[in-house]
Symmetry: C2
Subunit: 518 residues, 2 copies
Amino acid sequence: MSGPPPRTAIEPTRAEDYAEWYQQVVRQADLADHAPVRGCMIIKPWGYALWENTQRALDGMFKATGHRNAYFPLFIPLSFLEKEAEHVEGFAKECAVVTHHRLVAGPEGGLVPDPEARLAEPLVVRPTSETIIGAAFAQWVQSYRDLPLLINQWANVVRWEMRTRLFLRTAEFLWQEGHTAHATEAEAREETARMLDVYRTFAEQWMAMPVVAGPKTDAERFPGAVETHAIEAMMQDRKALQAGTSHFLGQNFARASGIRFQAADGSEQYAWTTSWGVSTRLLGALVMTHGDDDGLVLPPRLAPAHVAVWPVLRDDADRARVLEAIEVLARALRATRWADRTLEVEVDLRDVRGPDKQWEWIRKGVPLRIEVGPRDLQSGTVGVARRDRPHRERLVWPLHEVAARVGEVLSDMQTQLLQKALAFRDAYTVALDDAGELEAFFTPRDAQRPEIHGGFALAHWCGGSACEQRAHAFKASIRVVPVHGIAAARAAERIEERGRCVFCGGPSPRRVLFAKAY
Amino acid sequence: MSGPPPRTAIEPTRAEDYAEWYQQVVRQADLADHAPVRGCMIIKPWGYALWENTQRALDGMFKATGHRNAYFPLFIPLSFLEKEAEHVEGFAKECAVVTHHRLVAGPEGGLVPDPEARLAEPLVVRPTSETIIGAAFAQWVQSYRDLPLLINQWANVVRWEMRTRLFLRTAEFLWQEGHTAHATEAEAREETARMLDVYRTFAEQWMAMPVVAGPKTDAERFPGAVETHAIEAMMQDRKALQAGTSHFLGQNFARASGIRFQAADGSEQYAWTTSWGVSTRLLGALVMTHGDDDGLVLPPRLAPAHVAVWPVLRDDADRARVLEAIEVLARALRATRWADRTLEVEVDLRDVRGPDKQWEWIRKGVPLRIEVGPRDLQSGTVGVARRDRPHRERLVWPLHEVAARVGEVLSDMQTQLLQKALAFRDAYTVALDDAGELEAFFTPRDAQRPEIHGGFALAHWCGGSACEQRAHAFKASIRVVPVHGIAAARAAERIEERGRCVFCGGPSPRRVLFAKAY
């Protein structure tokens, strides 16, 4: 970058063009890029490190709740997909189909699928693995002693998408899918709730992203599930993003796959199963929860690096001393533990101008930035810049105290980010009691900026699908029947009250959450 | 398991039927199973935990050598695969080809690929990612300042295989593939050697598996590489297993993908690239290096659990006391660090007979087994069984000293396993100077057991491909031109000597390693 600095590091700003701002943050923070394969993405090292930290935190929570990882095939035979009627309806539509297992030279040169290597039964690249894992569970489960069976898989999945956006909607994405089998309905329901809570905890405590948790309506259920529960977060354009789902599958997949067991009383029964998943979509949610007009802002617990340090050198005479001071500082930081891991430090010695380095680390969202120059060595102090503060602001600390003080600041940032996101969500969450008000709430004020609307609305709903669909007219939907996480001052106390459906006036036991959604 | 105990926990034994012994160990140690999808496998929790430990160790070594992880698309457009002539020849033959992106109801019910959703350009499920990563590198690399570019990917890959064996050869497998780009040939060659050495170190220090390292002959090169280096290990049937490869790709893929950079002198140049990989095949190598006729034997550094503990209860009166003692023991063990991680303990409280538990943990290869019963509480001592000793042998230790003493035993096991494997390999490695002797060495002595032959032979070779192929007549091949790892007392000093080709009598600068191979 050269020439005069832009008004903001990211152009356009959120206010100017939110969708383009998002793409620019993802690109300029070096998180990911479009692949030359339609609808696929390349997750670049900074983005992948964020995913690795996400995996590490979640994997620890899965293991702490008794789950073990395993790996199942990428390919699903068509006959498996066909086993569960609702499921096939939901997933067979847009998927990658493997039909051949060999290429040969074509008549015009180049390669073509070998007509003699056509598969007898086409294979689908897994869009989700209930059916193939169900077939394995049917083998593994014989007796009640084999239950509960608590399995998780980290994998890639493919769902053909026509319109894609990095992290939010891509043909291939990375995820984890938990699959469990239980002897009783109660245990399976408990598991569904437990894993939803794991997701909520991860979103709040690691991502610093407040979420509303609860069951989905029937219309929004996972194909084949009895109940789907989700966590939903508000992005900065006030739209909802579904960040994780936990499904109670009843005995639907157990019947489809034949997961039977001999109970303690000798009877043969079908197991009760669950599945639950989060994906690289979480990285998109992270960008849109905390990002600002200068780029990414990372919650320290997930940041690939906590601190970026680089030298400011005016002439070669200072070089050795400054680099040595940086080396000492980096070593002290790397020996410091914070939030259950040692601090990660990027020492940036590239042959690049200091201001360009600064802006690169700002765009990448590293929590703390430290420049070290000869004057700092003279004064024995150094300026520490927080990513969540204006970029010129500095904490001035004695150089030898930096490592000892950093943890407190990181903890403060982690807390502040959650508070700020919570305040944002609460500011745009209201309780509404009238269909006209609801429609107005979701109608853009400005034709130039169709994405800007009210936010989250808590309103009464009779439970009928006709009324539910009326919200689609203004591009909103019922995201969740909230049971956890709405703390909006004006709205919180009003969720549980009885009322009348905002559309038909029918009785309603509680308010539900309406929003526009990603 | 009930009835009289078998002679050995695994039937058949290695001596009776080595190939079937292998399948039985994999199945009975609960490592993996055949999937209902042709040629694919399911990696079960015990096997996957072994892979996770493999990943953790290697990933740490990759990061310590400056590499960063990223993720690239599963699908490769045909046009990409066609870019490098040798490469396409090597990989286009047997691969999964995606031709459609949607299913529809077929004329006879059921689903069929939607003829209207045929892809304009078929996609190949990646068999390896040089071409797709090369295209990304071409975007990322502009200047010498962007080099070296050191990337690794953990991923699944697919190579259609007609005859499959769990871990050793499956259509889909898991692996890592490193891809790097450098400004100079020397740096790229150095990287190739560095990563081969990382693999050798991992094989020896984590897997306790001795390997011979060095370049492959031209005939055995990776398609498109200038040079391929490999590590080769001897299995217990004396065959060689290629356990990891590191390729110096020269400028072949840089030219094919257009990875160009502006050098410091302003000229435009092609980068020099490398790639290197190991896969879940390593788990097969582990089974065949250390397994015995009772099942898996795990090197402690990779074991998913170091210790299995279970109670021996005669009546309910003892129950609470014994379980409490086990709880205390497990807590002490889990607080103990060994080889850079805390000890993992399986407390087995399943409602299963004690002897059955014992044999299950023997088959699964857990390094140490501890049964705790009321008599142990009385004596204050407990018997600790090592997996690498006869199953009745016990170390008798004071209960409260178990945690403190375990580390030393685990270290000893790790060392002993390597020594034993090394002694085995050296016992079946010879230097031979005559074509007839070489043929006899690779000819089975017993028609009933065609797999048993001599082992590794170090012989002179002129470097010509005609002579190289003569070994194929007796199903042997040149595995590697050894530069590291052969310590066979009778053979070591004879590798570097000059001699005459065992086939044609032409001059040979050094001996090469002949073996039958997986």
